[in-house]
Symmetry: C2
Subunit: 508 residues, 2 copies
Amino acid sequence: MTGLASPTQMNSTDQAVPPSIVNAIRDVVGAANVRTGEDAGAIDLGSNGADCGAGIVVAPLSTAEVAAVVRICRQNEIPIVPQGGKTGLVGGSVSRPGEIVLSMTRMNRIERLDPVERVAVVGAGVTLAALQEAAREHRLEPGIDLAARGSATIGGMVSTNAGGVMAFRNGVMRHRLLGLEAVLADGSVYSDLTRVVKNSAGYDLKHLFIGAEGTLGVVTRAVVKLDPLPRASATALFGLPSVEAALRTIRLALESDAGHLRAAEAMWNSYFGLAAAAHEWSEPSVPLDQPLFLLLSLGGAREEALREDFERSFLEVMERCPEATGIVAASRRQEDDLWRLREDTSVLYRAHPHAPSFDVSVPLSEIAVYLERILPGLAAIEPGLAPYVFGHLADGNLHIILNRKGPLGLDMAEAVEGVLYQQLRQIGGSFSAEHGVGSKRIHSLLATADPTKLAVMERVKRVLDDQSVMNPDKVLPCDAWFVRSSMPSHSGSERRLPFKNVSDLTNE
Amino acid sequence: MTGLASPTQMNSTDQAVPPSIVNAIRDVVGAANVRTGEDAGAIDLGSNGADCGAGIVVAPLSTAEVAAVVRICRQNEIPIVPQGGKTGLVGGSVSRPGEIVLSMTRMNRIERLDPVERVAVVGAGVTLAALQEAAREHRLEPGIDLAARGSATIGGMVSTNAGGVMAFRNGVMRHRLLGLEAVLADGSVYSDLTRVVKNSAGYDLKHLFIGAEGTLGVVTRAVVKLDPLPRASATALFGLPSVEAALRTIRLALESDAGHLRAAEAMWNSYFGLAAAAHEWSEPSVPLDQPLFLLLSLGGAREEALREDFERSFLEVMERCPEATGIVAASRRQEDDLWRLREDTSVLYRAHPHAPSFDVSVPLSEIAVYLERILPGLAAIEPGLAPYVFGHLADGNLHIILNRKGPLGLDMAEAVEGVLYQQLRQIGGSFSAEHGVGSKRIHSLLATADPTKLAVMERVKRVLDDQSVMNPDKVLPCDAWFVRSSMPSHSGSERRLPFKNVSDLTNE
């Protein structure tokens, strides 16, 4: 369970959707594709029990069906909660009685995959893994990758502007998208299935829907840019004394002669030790006592050349940091073992059930200072309170998991966020790097965002979804503008919501 | 001169800005930084005579000054026309009496250039060339490049979402931007100086201002991502029989063993012949009779390896296309000579003064069909009417210049656009790839855009700039919403503006 207030607490009505409306929706998508009651709960539990609080899951097959369902819902003031692969971590698709869940999983067709254009047109319900596999047949890849690839859908990744391990190089989901189709709150279809990167024909409105977590419309189709898949790859693990040494190592890898850097994942000592122990991993050449471990992947034409590149880099690193350690994976098996240490973060949640998790972006030059500040800051809240830290070092995205069973109590959660989020925006970072805001992080957004940004967000939400039919109480709280007739002009602190418990699950 | 209706025709008032307001603005930015009358015209003629129709140019030095000027203008209903390096091609910064030009050229400070973060924070008035030069000192580059680099400003490039030669790989300006600061129509400052790629803390509103051509706010600062600059580069020119052969050659180059593809510029026969003659260029190994010429640049660690890669690719191309020809530049001088053929498009405008120019995006798999269709289409309008075609082949961006002195008459312009823009959006392309809409292409946008898109664009414009103070009659016509109180629900054709003459200048 999450630390969210119970759905019924937040909802003005806990009435289920009336049967007449359920029947109207059944007429659109077919009776078999509307599940209610026990049936809905059974198919849709996902990783988060609150995901199906609505008790009704509607699974349309086409954009036209989505539009028809949206029109019915709008007419009857039934909120819609779009749902993809249910791998989100911030309660973006939790639902409440009186709402409907719109599951996009049946819209899972790869409609076009053109090796000449290096472009894919896909339904919102296609998983990342399915797209990766289809692209691989043409020696292509979507240029974005994350641990939840088997479940995460393209529609969900668009709606949350997913990040992952290649973002430092290829950008986030927003940067991989050439076109997008979405159903708006009034049932009209925003259709921009552009298959080229250059399009300056008016405002590029698809960027409103990307990362809006379904609050401005339902993403139904996406056009994804593909890149050539390198013929070979190589993976190395370095043990390093400092963030500075790790950033220098990354720069060397970025300038690889033999290929290009594809991943640069950092694991700080306490996380790495836990992961190594859980997987019974050990390597004589990489003792566990280094402050920081850096997992690097190169892609290129020849594996041997990539490995040699790593060895050259290692020698260069050693010149400045004689204490550096390292290993270059000699086989696919070794490579997989190294990646498991980074990707299988469930080891943390076994050690600390529902451990509170955070996902921040910190400018690279500020990371060392940031970590030096938060360690004593957390310990000051409670003796022994400490973070496991790992993440996408080349883009400054740190995942921070506390060594505590979650969820935290209100006061402690507030104190922890006070430490972790302090001044993050002001130094050019973000309190939410790639997980979004959902329902769990609204209070943090309101507490930390630029008031001008919040005001414009509200205006945009209102102008696209005046009745707040689209995933209400996600990203922004809806109550705010129902009670006001004029444009809000608020300061962040004024509008702060009651602080909620904080907890997260896995899959960073 | 442009084919625009004269400014005074379009403006309800041709009164100059009242002296009391000019004085209030002088108090903000300093008397020396407000130029009027002859003085304004003299400093600001640019490539487009209409750029300074306003007769008053205000040059602020800081965001605070911009905000103060905006507040004065809003209070007095004085429209603001932001202006960067005046290299735009669609009349995005032309101005009329009664408006003020806000020249961003004094905000030309590179405030931060961090080699660890690989990020630059710059004022809107910094030129691309200045940023490239500063980045080069750290072996970095902004990852975007275009022929107008010496004049084009970052603010202008953000506002027009500039493209250029590296977009197929690195994306357009939108994809290079980590953060942005803009002054909104009410004088408030939207401040998002994020220096990381991952930020999902609420709607990413900077994307509204990118490509909005100053109609939603004035871009004052930008955070630009930098990439390592390759240590070596190599350039080759191939003569090829078809688009298909060129796309195959590009795919080979994308999979280069020794480096990465940095540019893939196509020049069709008629353009190439003209350019070669104008520059007295000739190479025995590249006769001028090929249908298509492809200019490729690779970047990597070693020049010799890159050249060898080109030679290998050439052999592979020859296997399928024995008629292919090619040369690999053996010196920097040869490289520059090849690039001049592509970049110095002024040869066209010397041959055909004010030749009508177009800038379309076509999905790669549709380019051959598109060209086969438009050639007879143009000839059917007038015997001998033919296009010079060149552009960024790897991203499908074609520049099309007609072999006619411009501007065209109304009927002919309409007929030409009918041929060039027909079904472009429907096949996944765009009638405006990288030049934007400005004042010249509004009629084309209204004629071809998805009505839902136009409706949302108008809502967004209205909600951010209800008085239409920000660059009015650019991108969208302003008259539309002053006369209506409720949300427009229009079809594209209904709202079509009277057709204007069409002409362009240089710098594609």
